[in-house]
């Protein structure tokens, strides 16, 4: 009886801890993801590479697909 009650207490603490961890990971994901997606945006990239004299291409990249025997 007593041990099972302690067991339950332990579980409750564990759940609280895990919930906290989930929350932290979620926030971390959010912050990392939003900064990455901000950096990834073409408008941001364009500003960054403009200093180096680069501009977005007017023409699409060409992909050359080589068919092989297999």
């Amino acid at each position: 009886m007593i041990s099972s009650s302690h067991n339950a207490d332990k579980k409750v603490l564990e759940i609280a801890e895990l919930n906290e961890e989930v929350r932290k990971l979620k926030s971390e994901f959010f912050e990392a993801r939003s900064s990455v997606q901000q950096l990834k945006l073409e408008s941001t990239l364009r500003e960054v590479v403009a200093e180096k004299g680069l501009v977005p291409s007017q023409n699409p990249p060409r992909k050359i697909k080589v068919k092989s025997a297999e």
Partner: protein, 669 residues
């Protein structure tokens, strides 16, 4: 008066009677409180010691198609400092380092923080605000700073957090991503996708938990079975493509600024599926800045002007009253219907032209004439045709506030003898940009009218709960022949040198569409108030279109220009250009070389030689130099070569024990 026994008894009865009445009154009141009002008081008593608490669920996130975050609920932290709990020693040792670290993080002079802490210390402030609205990553860093890393008691570190809705894209697509707010009366303000999908998916379910009052005003949870677990909201993946959205936003902004326009919008839609890839709405503030003010694309129903000529054209072709080759006399650019005069922009008109050219040059007269003359006996036939294509119906978008389309029926209020003529080129009718776009998309999609869609799937973690597929509103709005004809017409607008959209032409990529320059506020006939709506609706590439797009810009500065092709066209072109530039062109090269029999034989011979185990030097005469070298070197012998070709001579003869040989000189020829 003598005290008699009777006298005493009388008094006694009086007292006893009084007591009895009192006792009865007490009992009555007791019963009243216990039985009659019992429920109320029991509840009151309980509420002082026990209370049901609601546990707020976490709201789901809103993602873009590629998994970028559009809206998410995250905790934000406020950092405070308890200046009393810290020991003098700890404070003096760490305050400088702490101030430096904070200064660096928040880009403020470190002296600012030093003063802040010293002052708090001097005043004995136990709750001094250090930083507000700190994100999680910064919060973790601050926690590791000197002094603060000692924890709440020794370091005086206090944090409070609350959950806020964050929009990583900032002001981009703000109206379409939207938000949901609830006021104290439980009334929800619902804007954009966040509002539209709030109730069904994002909100989640509140949890309930019974708590008991304990010492110091704290509440302790009671029992296990009374709890209703909170259920977190589901995540919604929208169809928005962040990259296309980014381009749309910036291109529109550039053009609005250039033309000092009042407001404008761009919508990009995937032709086949109806997925909205980008939706941008910008309005001008009194300072001349632009921001996402209202969802014009969804909400603003306006007279479409010349972009509506496509609808008239489809109707006329379907009824076979004209063909694209029909020749129309545009009569010097003026055409009178009762008291109204339809005018062409070109002074003097276009003369006699075919209908396909009339479409490309966007002649109002030609369209007023064909529609008015062919339908004036039975105007309902024309209107029915438009209605059969679904133009009078809302699209039923999830975003709240879709504008009402207006297509009047003969006999309706506002219908008159000139209605047909004016409807033919987009006046006396009203559509929202997204409704116009849906129609153009149907033409691009060979007649299949798909509903513009903004939601792709609903997820719980990584598990897909619900997927949304394309919705077809009308599998065929018109015949295949008509579609083919008008597709050609839309192409001509850009490709033919007389087309109104020819300025946008590019030899690198193709597009098709229709310009629109609509007059606005024309009723008063006041030239100062007269304004324009410049639009361009179409799709790209012209053959096998992938995306359709509409650009509508309201009230550009007339001095700068107002034609659809000048104001809205460039935005459309940039979208087409950009999407063209990010779709790789694939060239296939056949690299299957025929097997060389001779070569294969050589290789097989060499391979057989290599497979053997040698304890003596093999005969390499007659072998090619290349093979001989690799064979000998693999045996651990140093090889020196003179000349090239096949081996003529080897300095060590065949059969010599390998162990005795260090080096072989080969002569090739």
């Amino acid at each position: 008066m003598a005290i008699t026994e009777k006298n005493i008894m009388n008094r006694l009865y009086l007292v006893a009677g009084g007591l009895l009445v009192l006792a009865i009154a007490v009992v009555v009141k007791l019963v009243d409180i216990q039985m009659v009002q019992g429920e109320k008081y029991k509840e009151l008593a309980l509420s002082k010691t026990e209370k049901m608490f609601t546990i707020e669920p976490n709201r789901g996130n809103l993602y873009s198609e590629d998994g970028s975050l559009l809206a998410a609920s995250v905790p934000k932290y406020d950092i405070r400092f308890d200046a009393q709990t810290v020991s003098q020693e700890n404070f003096e040792n760490n305050v400088a380092a702490l101030s430096d670290s904070l200064g660096k993080l928040f880009e403020r002079p470190s002296s600012y923080y030093r003063q802040l802490f010293r002052k708090a210390r001097a005043n004995g402030n136990r709750y001094k605000l250090v930083a507000r609205n700190v994100g999680y990553l910064d919060y973790v860093r601050i926690k590791q700073f000197p002094l603060f890393n000692l924890g709440p008691y020794k370091g005086g570190f206090i944090e409070t957090h609350r959950v806020v809705r964050e929009y990583p894209l900032g002001k981009m697509a703000a109206r379409s991503i939207g938000y949901e707010r609830v006021d104290e009366n439980g009334y929800y303000t619902r804007v954009g996708l966040d509002g539209a999908f709030g109730e069904t998916y994002l909100r989640g379910k509140e949890g309930k938990r019974l708590k008991q009052k304990i010492a110091k005003g704290q509440w302790k949870p009671v029992g296990l079975d009374n709890i209703v677990e909170p259920k977190d909201g589901l995540d919604v993946v929208s169809t928005i493509d962040v990259n296309i959205q980014d381009i749309a936003h910036h291109e529109l902004l550039k053009q609005l600024e250039k033309y000092k326009a009042d407001h404008g919008c761009v919508v990009v839609m995937e032709t086949e599926t109806g997925e909205i890839k980008a939706i941008s709405n910008l309005g001008r503030t009194s300072e001349g800045k632009y921001y996402e003010k209202l969802n014009y694309a969804v909400g603003e129903s306006h007279e479409p002007g010349s972009t509506f000529k496509l609808m008239s054209m489809v109707a006329a072709l379907e009824d076979k009253v004209v063909d694209t080759s029909t020749v129309i006399d545009t009569e010097k650019g003026r055409y009178r219907i009762y008291d109204g005069v339809v005018k062409d922009t070109k002074w003097g008109g276009y003369g006699k032209i075919t209908l396909s050219k009339a479409f490309a040059v966007s002649s109002n007269v030609a369209f007023a004439k064909i529609i008015n003359e062919n339908y004036k006996e039975q105007p309902e036939k024309f209107v029915n045709r438009l209605m059969n294509m679904g133009l009078h119906k809302k699209l039923g978008l999830p975003i709240i506030g879709e504008g009402d389309p207006v297509i009047r029926y003969p006999g309706d209020k506002g219908w008159s003898g000139i209605s047909l003529g004016w409807m033919s080129h987009g006046y006396e009718v009203s559509l929202t940009p997204i409704q116009t776009l849906a129609f153009y998309n149907a033409i691009a999609n060979n007649g299949e009218y798909v509903k513009p869609r903004m939601i792709q799937e609903v997820r719980e973690g990584n598990k897909v709960v619900q997927r949304f597929d394309k919705e077809v509103l009308n599998s065929s709005i018109c015949s295949k022949e008509t579609v083919k004809k008008v597709q050609q017409l839309l192409k001509d607008v850009v490709e033919k040198d007389y087309g109104t959209g020819h300025r946008m032409y590019s030899k690198n990529f193709s597009m098709a569409g229709k310009t629109g320059t609509t007059q606005k506020n024309y009723v008063e006939k006041n030239p100062d108030k007269l304004a324009y709506i410049s639009s361009f609706a179409g799709y790209f590439p012209a053959d096998n279109p992938k995306y359709s797009c509409i650009v509508v810009i309201h009230e550009p500065d007339k001095q700068e220009g107002y034609y659809g092709a000048d104001v809205s066209g460039p935005v459309f072109k940039s979208m087409a250009q950009k999407i063209h530039a990010i779709s790789p062109m694939v060239d296939e090269v056949d690299n299957r070389i025929k097997e060389d029999v001779e070569l294969d034989k050589d290789y097989q011979q060499y391979y057989a030689q290599v497979q053997k185990k040698y304890s003596t030097v093999p005969n390499v005469k007659g072998m090619s130099g290349m093979d001989a070298i690799s064979l000998l070197e693999n045996l651990g012998i140093e090889v020196e070569v003179h000349g090239n070709g096949k081996v003529k001579n080897q300095s060590v003869n065949q059969g010599t024990n390998i162990k005795q040989v260090k080096k072989i000189v080969l002569e090739l020829s």
